[in-house]
Amino acid sequence: MSQSTARALQSPAPPRQAEHVDLRPDVSQAHVRFIGLGKTYPGQSQPALQGIDLNIRRGEIFGIIGRSGAGKSSLLRVINRLEQPTQGRVLIDQADIARYDEEALVALRRNIGMIFQHFNLMSAKTVWQNVELPLKVAGVAKAQRQRKVRELLQLVGLEDKHDVYPAQLSGGQKQRVGIARALVHDPSILLCDEATSALDPETTASILGLLRDINQRLSLTIVLITHEMAVVRDTCHRVAVLERGQLVEQGEVWQVFGAARHATTRTLLAPLQPTLPEALTADIKAAPSSPDSAIVLKLTAFGEPDLTALFAELGGRVRLLQGGVQSIGARTLAQLIVSVQHSPHDASRLLERTRRWAEDVEVLGHVG
């Protein structure tokens, strides 16, 4: 089932029209576009970002992952020009923002909301005043400010906390205030800088739920950076992987998570992957030592795994060593580690048959 399913899952090619041929739909739909973007901090020889070409589509939730120091934060901050690029171009709605002056930047930033790991709320201002501040500095009339602040505090579920100071709020509540503040100008883009990294798992889930909800309801483009792979799995549509300032992999989350090509991506994803039981890791060998040896395979398949079909392909005695099924957006990703003993097929034939079933097959070794 796998290959045909995988093909069907991919978005169909755009229909060609006689008059208007949109050769690069990814470009014309791009909300944020980086072209050859580079950033070198003064006094540093190693660039923080280098040759980044990336399109972020309107209305999607786009994740940027990477180790700490990989340049995630710099890349995110280039979008609202908290960081000034030293090379290349940044297009937002086709406009190059790299040379904007303060006036143009102020207007740009009112169209781009941002939330932070440590919330960055003004401690001397109440919840209400914090959310009101962006409108106040923009000179919005009082009646309109009140309407808007009330509406947003209701959206994030804090209508009973108007006059409370941030110090009295929990982490999740603070981030909700941050979200309300970021959305108060009705932006078209929301930047999330490790927005859930300081929160416990339960609160993280509720904040991510809120982000998905506003992404849908307000058709907001969300760009988030995180070191938590589960955040990307549960929230993002597409993902890009940064390593030492360079883009090493990008694509649909289910594809990247299902079949990561780059070593960095695999390392980052390791915590979400099934691994061999520890007892077995010691026993595993590169080559079979006897006819009774079992081959250990790691299989990745999309959709709910049809085990009957798998057993038919493998033959012999199949043991499930480790595995799981996880949902990524509307898709299902199954990852199984199995050992196969006494298969009627030789090793290469076995792999060939397994590939009919699985999207990705990896031989981990042999036991026994």
Binding site: V106, R109, N120, K125, L133, P134, K136, V137, H185
Partner: protein
């Protein structure tokens, strides 16, 4: 009669401290804002201006008050027309207190989390919005604390100014308490100064605590 003299001394001290601290507040806060924002990486980064300003502040802070007072005599005469009395003391007191307070206020302003400045920039604040809506309100408890210290230091310095004929409690303690060995006057003045300092410290602490929402 003693009571009158003491009350007059108290009034003179309060006048000297009040006027010079008020000017120190009005000049010191903008000076502190300039010191912080003109520094490298600040929102109005201007390293040269920053260095000149910092050198100027250090210059006046490193001269002991007694010497500063004497050195400023020509300037004082030019400003208030005399070198004697309360108003003549206010000039050097102000010039000593302003850089002192500016440095303390600067420390409070520097302690404002850079993330807040970044958040303000990200929400579309202009630079003076950041000063007005972020830096000053967030640093206010610290600035109030710094102003309290400045007031207490000014009471201390005003007593010194009193000794060279500026009036005030210091003058009374020096002339009657020290030169005429009247220990009763001396103790009374000390008690008044202690009470004054305690009152200022208490009020300042209360206010700073009330303003601190962290």
């Amino acid at each position: 009669m003693w009571v009158d003299r003491l009350l007059e001394g108290l009034f003179d001290t309060l006048l000297m401290v009040g006027v010079s601290s008020l000017i120190a507040l009005l000049v010191g806060v903008p000076m502190a804002v300039m010191l912080v924002t003109s520094d490298r990486g600040g929102i109005y980064a201007a390293p040269l201006l920053n260095r000149v300003l910092a050198a100027f502040v250090n210059l006046f802070r490193s001269v002991p008050f007694l010497i500063l007072m004497v050195a400023l005599i020509p300037f004082t005469r030019w400003v208030v027309g005399t070198t004697y009395g309360v108003w003549a003391a206010i000039v050097p007191l102000t010039i000593a207190a302003t850089p002192f307070f500016a440095r303390i206020a600067e420390v409070s302003l520097r302690e404002v989390d850079h993330g807040l400045v970044e958040a303000a920039q990200a929400m579309g604040c202009r630079r003076w919005h950041i000063v007005w809506h972020v830096l000053l309100p967030e640093a206010l408890p610290g600035i109030v604390g710094g102003f309290t210290i400045t007031l207490v230091t000014l009471i201390n310095s005003s007593a010194m100014a009193g000794a060279i004929g500026a009036g005030g409690l210091g003058d009374i303690a020096y002339r009657y308490g020290y030169q005429r060995f009247d220990s009763q006057i001396m103790l009374t003045v000390i008690a008044m100064l202690v009470a004054l300092v305690a009152l200022i410290q208490l009020g300042g602490d209360r206010l700073a605590r009330g303003l601190n929402k962290r």
